[in-house]
């Protein structure tokens, strides 16, 4: 789709769930009626002031919103270029942006009288957020998590169990987020009567990409207001990390039609975006295909078989990306880049040392790109990155990568 056909970058999706050629509803017939029912319920909720009143109350008093917009003085001095701000979504209850969306979906599940909630999780942050909100509302919670991720994100597995969720390790495939999503869909198709599938990112069949984006847009809306208060204007550049792309969509969406704002999405480059496919950069290293209910950019071989991605960050370890990102990529509105594991690790340490913030590995990718562009920009240029999660869950992975001995006995 070319730019001159558009009045706005915020009108999608259309009634068939498309953002340009991307998105759609590629699901089995068994799930189709459920997806239509969900769409109807969301359309009703969207214009119901009581729904948003309840969301606002929970966001404020349960999650702790608005999250601060923080000026990173020492990082700014370190790179001696643009002014660097962080949207502090890692300060949310449960430690990441994921809960913004989970609250919305669980309130929908309650409206639909569904008593059993299923979710997929990669890094475990979406699983923890879902388990948390289910505990609060007394709902049964089942979380599918790749066996490989269960191993590398052990603290989050324990958290989910403490919160009363059942965690099912998924052994099909390589045991990461993609495989967890397959098994969650298999659960949903089996338990259609009582089960609500709470998807953690802006992917999946329509209406999920739209719905999750809308719930996460609170990030960008707050950023707009806070930046106006602190700087009297909008930021010049936005940067966010992308696995499926929900924290990025949430930050970007309210700024899409402000064309003065440059927007950058950072994919996981793993060991480097090359022919060996040891990365998760779907836009940089993939091509369009159909998986998990939507058409989007996917890592795949010549036969259309889905490839396993690779990233040190379990939350970015997904071979696809939300369809709206695919469209923003093709329309040129958002620029997508990639950052390697090594670069992310360096930024992880820098953030700890200079700002006293232990970041998750996911936003460490965003920070690494900020570190690449900030030195070349003038001091009145404002960059805002999304600090979408805290790094407590990642300390074991990072310790291993840095050859740090965790045995203090």
């Amino acid at each position: 789709m070319t730019g001159d056909l558009l009045n706005s970058f915020t009108v999608g999706p259309d009634e068939s769930g498309r953002f340009g050629d991307f998105g759609g509803r590629f699901v089995s017939e068994t799930l189709m009626p459920l997806i239509l029912e969900l769409e109807k319920e969301y359309e009703n909720a969207k214009i119901d002031s009581n729904f948003w009143k309840e969301m606002d109350d929970l966001w404020a008093n349960y999650v702790g919103r608005p999250s601060p917009l923080y000026f990173c003085e020492r990082l700014t001095n370190h790179f001696s270029g643009a002014k660097i701000y962080m949207k502090r979504d890692e300060l949310n209850h449960t430690g990441a942006h994921k809960i913004n969306n989970v609250l919305g979906q669980i309130l929908l599940a309650r409206r639909m009288n569904k008593k059993r909630i299923i979710a997929e999780t990669g890094a475990g942050q979406h699983g923890v957020a879902t388990a948390t909100v289910c505990a609060k509302f007394g709902l049964k919670c089942v979380v599918y998590m790749g066996a490989h991720d269960v191993e590398r994100q052990a603290p989050n597995v324990f958290r989910m169990k403490l919160l009363g969720a059942e965690v099912i390790p998924v052994t099909s495939g390589r045991g990461t987020l993609k495989d967890a999503m397959n098994d969650a869909l298999r659960d949903w198709v089996t338990n259609v009567e009582d089960t609500f599938y709470c998807i953690g990112t802006v992917a999946g069949p329509h209406p999920y990409p739209e719905m999750v984006r809308d719930f996460q847009s609170i990030i960008g809306k707050e950023t707009k207001t806070q930046m106006l208060e602190q700087e009297g204007r909008a930021p010049d550049t936005l940067v966010a990390a992308i696995g499926g792309g929900s924290n990025a969509m949430g930050l970007f969406y309210p700024f899409l039609d402000d064309l003065k704002v440059s927007i950058i999405g950072v994919e996981a480059g793993g060991k480097g975006v090359n022919s060996k496919m040891e990365h998760c950069a779907s836009l940089t290293g993939g091509r369009p295909g159909v998986l998990h209910g939507n058409r989007t950019y996917l890592l795949q071989d010549d036969d259309g078989q889905i490839l396993e991605g690779f990233s040190i960050s379990a939350g970015l370890d997904y071979p696809g990306i939300g369809p709206e990102h695919a469209w923003l990529h093709e329309s040129g509105r958002v620029n997508y880049v990639s950052i390697t594991d090594k670069e992310a690790l360096t930024s992880f340490q820098l953030c700890c040392e200079l700002e006293g913030i232990i970041p998750a590995l996911e936003p460490s990718h965003a920070l690494a790109h900020v570190g690449k562009i900030a030195p070349k920009l003038p001091s009145d240029h404002i960059i805002c990155m999304n600090m979408c999660g805290r790094g407590d869950k990642d300390i074991f992975t990072v310790a291993k990568a840095l050859n740090f001995d965790m045995d203090f006995s």
Binding site: E29, T30, G173, V192, G289, V290, G304
Partner: protein
């Protein structure tokens, strides 16, 4: 083109029900799988569903998932699956073959290129699990235009409002999914399925074939009493997983076919 219609006409004339067998193309490898495919008609199979392997088969249980992985590991792909149909057609020009799988390998290959090649090698129909009526313009309509049957799944969640849309562009037969769930896990009940088939039959003249959760000759017989045909997949594939010889797999297939044809 008319192989599926002709098959049902012939069965009806003999007052018999259709036995539809599913195997995964390339499982455990091309040659074994081709030999099994060639043997299916003589074992009593009326219609063949040939699985197109995919890494992420979201509607399938562990049995079919593993079969797909075995096939992919042995080097199977879309091109070789079409080759297998061509090999089959050089010996058999009667038994219908339906390609069953997921959309991405076809989309990746190119829809038009796939359809013309499929038509050329003698494919009769397609069952693509992740293409509901809402996405008909992707493959269903182009398939229909080129003369391939697009066989739609109807499920327990397909209500009165949706049924006309589900039946609209379906041809060949309607595949009724007996359970909510994935292949090869739960057991289907003919008592539950019977009223559903009557419901569908009120809306269409097409044959209604039942699949998912049918594992034994006895279960196939019971289901065949209430439907126009029965599909067995995972139970056959499970024999291949256990390393049974093609001869032994075909003996099992024959027992299933006799169950269905006795109904």
């Amino acid at each position: 083109m008319a192989r599926i219609d002709d098959t049902f006409s012939a069965l009806r004339a003999n007052r018999k029900k259709a036995f539809v067998a599913y195997i995964m193309a390339g499982d455990p490898d091309y040659n074994e799988s081709k030999e099994l495919l060639m043997g299916l008609p003589e074992a009593g199979v009326d219609i063949i569903e040939l699985g197109l392997p995919f890494t992420d088969p979201m509607a399938d249980g562990p049995t079919i998932q593993l079969a797909g992985q075995r096939a992919l590991n042995s080097g199977q792909n879309l091109e070789k699956t079409l080759q297998m149909v061509q090999d089959f057609r050089s010996k058999n020009n009667v038994t219908p073959i339906i390609i069953m799988g997921y959309y991405n390998p076809i989309y990746s290959y190119g829809v038009d290129k796939f359809l013309s090649k499929a038509k050329l090698v003698g494919v009769d129909g397609l069952i693509i699990v992740d293409l509901p009526p809402e996405e008909d313009s992707e493959l269903c309509i182009p398939a229909k235009n080129i003369g391939l049957n697009f066989i739609r799944l109807a499920t327990p969640t397909t209500d009165e409002n949706r049924l006309p849309a589900v039946l609209k562009n379906t041809s060949g037969f309607v595949y009724y999914v007996s359970i909510t769930g994935i292949t090869g896990v739960a057991n289907a009940s003919s008592a539950n399925v019977s009223p559903e088939i009557s419901r569908i039959k009120k809306e269409t003249d097409l044959p209604v074939v039942v699949g998912f959760g049918i594992k034994t000759p006895e279960a196939a017989l019971e289901m065949a009493k209430v439907a126009d045909g029965v599909v067995v997949g995972s139970a056959i594939v499970e024999k291949i997983a256990q390393g049974e010889s093609n001869k032994s797999v075909l003996a099992f297939v024959k027992s299933l076919a006799e169950g269905v044809h006795d109904a």
